[in-house]
């Protein structure tokens, strides 16, 4: 057993603290090349990660960087810095701790590279950027440990892939560096261990006591949830009551827009003026910091928030977590619940607020899953190649490299362990020459091979552009919002698409305030406080989570019960009503409903195949409907159904579900649709084919920039086997398309389709009408709309005699 150095031991003792068994475990095994800790939220994970560092640094002098700490959130990095600085100051340890994120000033960043602190706290993107500098070997010399906090949050994302590629680079620079991962409770610790370790080396795992089961319930309200919608407004009186009864409450929402609306109405009902704040990723940094500080100071009774508060920031005495809207994923629910009661071995307390009746069912299914300890997980895929291409560019920024050495380094990263030489060469060729069948850029290659075989940038000035494009997060294009007038206070950001719809005089909600749109000035939305209209709802492209397969299956099984005594009466009645006017979806059969509404014909397909498969099903079906002259206009998909609308009614669904017909055209028609183009755009930005649109560069009047859709169409026509199109297809197969689940569904139903034709919207389909993320169909329907409108509008203004 490795003992704590006396100075640390004393500090623990004076506080009456004792070291947790898993913290001692982490200390004992601190020499392991890779070490993963799985502990529940509130289990002292971060301290467990840092104890060996503090012990090392307390025992002896160390020059330069000792420990690199990486967190998925900027805010977490600065929070941890504050939490470390206090004990370091109290013990008088000679340790320098600094954070480095996108918010750190340029001067400070430069100094950090020249004279790194002992402990540097940063994010995956900032680390990738650090490894791109030529002086990286000097900066990281002597690095002993890298700690990846909340590693579970990075596991199934490109950020995680990029991070582990950067870590493989660090491992080459510092062969003795040890890797430490800190994870919340997950279904498959071994998968995270594989991600953390240098492939094929093993990784030791420390499992902390998971603690008592959480106390989790569904919030009881006097008013029933609405038929549809996602805001949970009906529950505001009950939520306020809970806030009053607890010290501090976190009120989680699934999207930023919902958080805004809820917050707005919460304040309208907040007669006691309880101090309640709002926090989400689209608010300005000043706004967020003010709320964070108020929280730390214990001035707030509640915070309405989104995933931006999901990860382990220590907000002090939170004793209740309220989740508004169905949690979609049991694993994340459990992690969110853990935010309440940051004391080890005390049950966390949480309440679920279903936002509509369907979510009542979903929440009950989730509760049953939590009780059964049935956490959901997804199978990890091979490492994506767009991230690999970016990694090659980053490596090239740091100086000339040998291709084989780089490939071997990349293969030490779990998801890339089975990368073939041919695949690697494809990516390298793409980065170097564009990889086109037409060899057009021999003169203007991006990377050149020197006579000695090493690869380097043709033009060293390219580093600037490459560094500006580092990262795998695709932010929607947003505009800043501020109050009109000189030095108007910044409020946050809204999506460009939403801003484009606004006309002066329109009002919208941001940061809990209703503001009036006055105009656009130098890429900033100017607003005033004159709120005299019902606000429009700003759209934020927050992450949209998919309900896991396990949860969907539970729901489908719940539908089969004769009665639902466990559900509130209103929801049970709703399901009965659905059973009366139509029917409920059953396992082994496929329910399809068709009905008219507002001069459109709607068809709802209840596949319960998860959001991605339902989305693909929408693409497949609209394509078939286009062929059958049903003039589809668009569709929207949720985890359980796809709703399609068009100009003609669907009379017989059977021809739509011919598996051969669906599969035959898969490749050719997938090529032209909007989802593939969206996928292409993200991958092309990550792989370095197109530049990110940086705010401020998008000045109006830039007719020089053109849509990435044009590049997609051009490649598709002239170079269909190009790497970028292969990456797009792979991406679509892994995520957005999920054709295998459609095949599985169609095979499972074996032609058992129940088509119900009605004259109006059905209870079960109603929520789909409020879903965002509609996919348009570029087809005959659109041309018909344009022609009709042309006639009408031209006549209206008397221009029809052109």
């Amino acid at each position: 057993m490795r003992a704590l150095p006396p100075i640390l031991k004393n500090w623990f003792d004076t506080r009456g603290w004792s070291i947790h068994p898993h913290q001692q475990d982490m200390l004992d095994r601190s020499d392991a090349p890779s070490l993963l800790l799985i502990a529940p939220t509130g289990g002292g994970k971060t301290l467990a990660g840092f104890l060996p560092t503090l012990a090392d640094l307390a025992e002896g002098a160390h020059d330069g960087l000792h420990t690199l700490y990486i967190s998925p959130l900027k805010a977490l990095a600065s929070d941890i810095r504050r939490n470390l600085e206090r004990p370091i100051a109290e013990m008088g340890l000679p340790i320098r701790v600094e954070d480095r994120t996108g918010d750190t000033s340029a001067t400070r960043k430069r100094r950090q590279r020249a004279d790194p602190p002992h402990i540097l706290l940063t994010t995956p993107e900032s680390l990738a950027l650090l490894t791109s500098y030529e002086d990286a070997p000097r900066m990281f010399a002597g690095l002993k440990r890298v700690i990846i906090d909340e590693i579970h949050a990075l596991e199934e994302s490109k950020r995680g892939d990029q991070l582990m590629l950067a870590v493989s680079r660090l491992q080459t620079l510092c062969p003795d560096m040890r890797r430490v991962g800190l994870s919340a409770t997950v279904d498959d610790p071994a998968a995270i261990a594989r991600m953390l370790a240098k492939h094929p080396d093993p990784c030791e795992v420390v499992l902390a006591d998971p603690g008592p089961d959480p106390d989790i319930r569904i919030l009881e309200t006097t008013e029933a949830p609405p038929w549809s919608g996602g805001g949970g407004r009906y529950a505001i009186p009950a939520v306020l009551e809970q806030v009053k009864q607890h010290k501090t409450t976190l009120i989680f929402h699934n999207t930023r827009a919902q958080a805004e609306i809820f917050f707005h109405h919460l304040w309208l009902a907040n007669e006691d003026s309880l101090p309640i704040g709002i926090h989400h990723g689209s608010l300005s940094r000043e706004q967020r910091e003010r709320v964070e500080q108020a929280m730390v100071d214990g001035q707030l009774r509640a915070i309405v928030c989104t995933g931006s508060l999901d990860l382990g920031i220590d907000w002090g005495d939170v004793d209740l977590v309220i989740q508004v809207g169905a949690p979609k994923n049991v694993k994340r629910l459990v992690q969110r619940i853990g935010r309440a009661n940051h004391r080890y071995n005390a049950p966390s307390k949480a309440l679920l607020v279903p936002a509509n009746r369907f979510e009542v069912v979903e929440c009950h299914a989730a509760l049953e899953a939590v009780k059964d300890h049935d956490l959901d997980g997804e199978t990890r895929q091979r490492g994506p190649k767009d991230v690999l291409c970016q990694h090659i560019l980053i490596r090239a920024c740091a100086g000339a490299f040998d291709a084989s050495e780089l490939m071997h380094e990349i293969r030490t990263v779990g998801p890339y362990a089975d990368l073939t030489r041919a695949e690697f060469d494809d990516c390298l060729d793409f980065v170097a020459t564009g990889g086109y069948a037409l060899r057009a850029y021999d003169k203007w290659q991006r990377l050149m091979q020197r006579p000695d075989g090493m690869w380097q940038l043709r033009d060293p000035r390219a580093t600037r552009q490459i560094r500006m494009n580092i990262g795998t997060i695709m932010d929607p294009e947003t505009l800043k919002v501020r109050f009109k007038g000189r030095g108007g206070a910044p409020l946050g950001e809204i999506e460009e698409g939403f801003a484009a719809q606004l006309t002066p005089g329109d009002t919208f909600l941001i940061g809990g305030q209703i503001v009036r749109y006055e105009g656009l000035r130098e890429m900033t939305v100017e607003v005033t406080r004159r709120a005299d209209k019902e606000p429009k709802i700003a759209t934020f492209n927050g992450t949209k989570f998919a309900t896991s397969t396990q949860l969907n299956q539970r729901i489908l099984c719940m539908f089969q019960r004769r009665n639902w005594p466990e559900l509130p009466t209103h929801t049970a009645q709703w399901l009965h009503l659905q059973r009366d006017v139509s029917r409920l979806p059953e396992p082994g059969r496929l329910l399809i409903e068709s009905f008219p509404r507002d001069a459109r014909h709607y068809t709802c397909v209840y596949g319960f195949a998860g959001r991605n498969a339902q989305q693909t099903l929408g693409l497949l079906l609209t394509k078939r409907m286009e062929e059958l002259h049903l003039a589809p206009l668009g569709f929207v998909a949720t985890d359980y159904a796809t709703l399609i609308w068009g100009l003609e009614p669907l009379r017989d669904p059977a021809p739509l579900f011919d598996l051969h017909a669906l599969r035959d055209g898969l490749d050719s028609w997938l090529a032209g649709n909007a989802v593939m183009k969206r996928t292409f755009k993200s991958s092309a930005i990550i792989a370095g084919l197109i530049d990110r649109n940086h705010a401020g560069q998008r000045k109006s009047g830039r007719q020089a920039t053109f849509s990435s859709d044009i590049l997609y169409d051009t490649l598709h026509r002239y170079d269909p086997d190009h790497l970028m199109l292969r990456i797009t297809r792979e991406e679509a197969e892994r995520g957005l398309v999920d054709f295998s689940r459609i095949e599985e569904m169609i095979t499972r139903i074996q032609g058992n389709i129940d088509h119900v034709t009605l004259d109006r919207v059905t209870p079960l389909s109603a929520p789909l009408f409020l879903e965002h993320g509609r996919t348009p169909v570029e087809g005959a329907g659109q041309d018909r709309l344009l022609a009709d409108a042309a006639q009408e509008l031209m006549a209206e203004v008397g221009l029809d005699a052109l």
């Binding site: 991006r446 009047g701 709309l785 042309a790």
Partner: protein
Amino acid sequence: MTAFRFTFAETELEALPSGALHYPARRTLCVSDLHLGKSERIARRGGTMLPPYETSDTLSRLEAAIDATNPERVICLGDSFDDLAAGGALSLRDREWVMRLQAGREWIWIEGNHDPAPIELGGVHMAEFQIDALSFRHIAQDGAQGEISGHYHPKASITLKGRHISRPCFLRSANRLILPAFGTYTGGLKCSDPVLRGLMDQSAVALLTGKQITPLPYARLR
């Protein structure tokens, strides 16, 4: 491909769905802002290496427009090349292609801000070209009459029944006609942009390109 007939400066013209303009009485075809060699220029300047197929694509669409109208005269309304070096760097195949299109007809390169000087390719280089009541130049001028220009790459956006539709378009007002960009790698400037607002009048009409030309009142567009 059906042409859309309209009158401008007392002249019968046809807008083609591809974005080309046809003057049947004078057997003249006009296209604007081809931006040939754009990908080469971006790569040369150290930018990204875009798919190098836009010149082929633009030329094949131009060829289709020429085949459909069999003009005696072709006017390229400026910014035909993304810059002068890009014009010089066209592949042998593309140069021969242009020469093939030029064979047997008058070919006028109007100078643009991207290509202010002649390129060594057949045809005549001119700052402006006049015929009948029409003046062809790259950038619209104040107080012009019967003026046909390009440069701005106008595009029209409209939301119909919740659908957002955005297309390159011709803009026609009483005194001037602005052509959409014909080149493959070209973006668009919203026709509501103040610059374009200043050039259009109340009666202006946008002709949206696509499978067919769709006329919409300019005042109703974003």
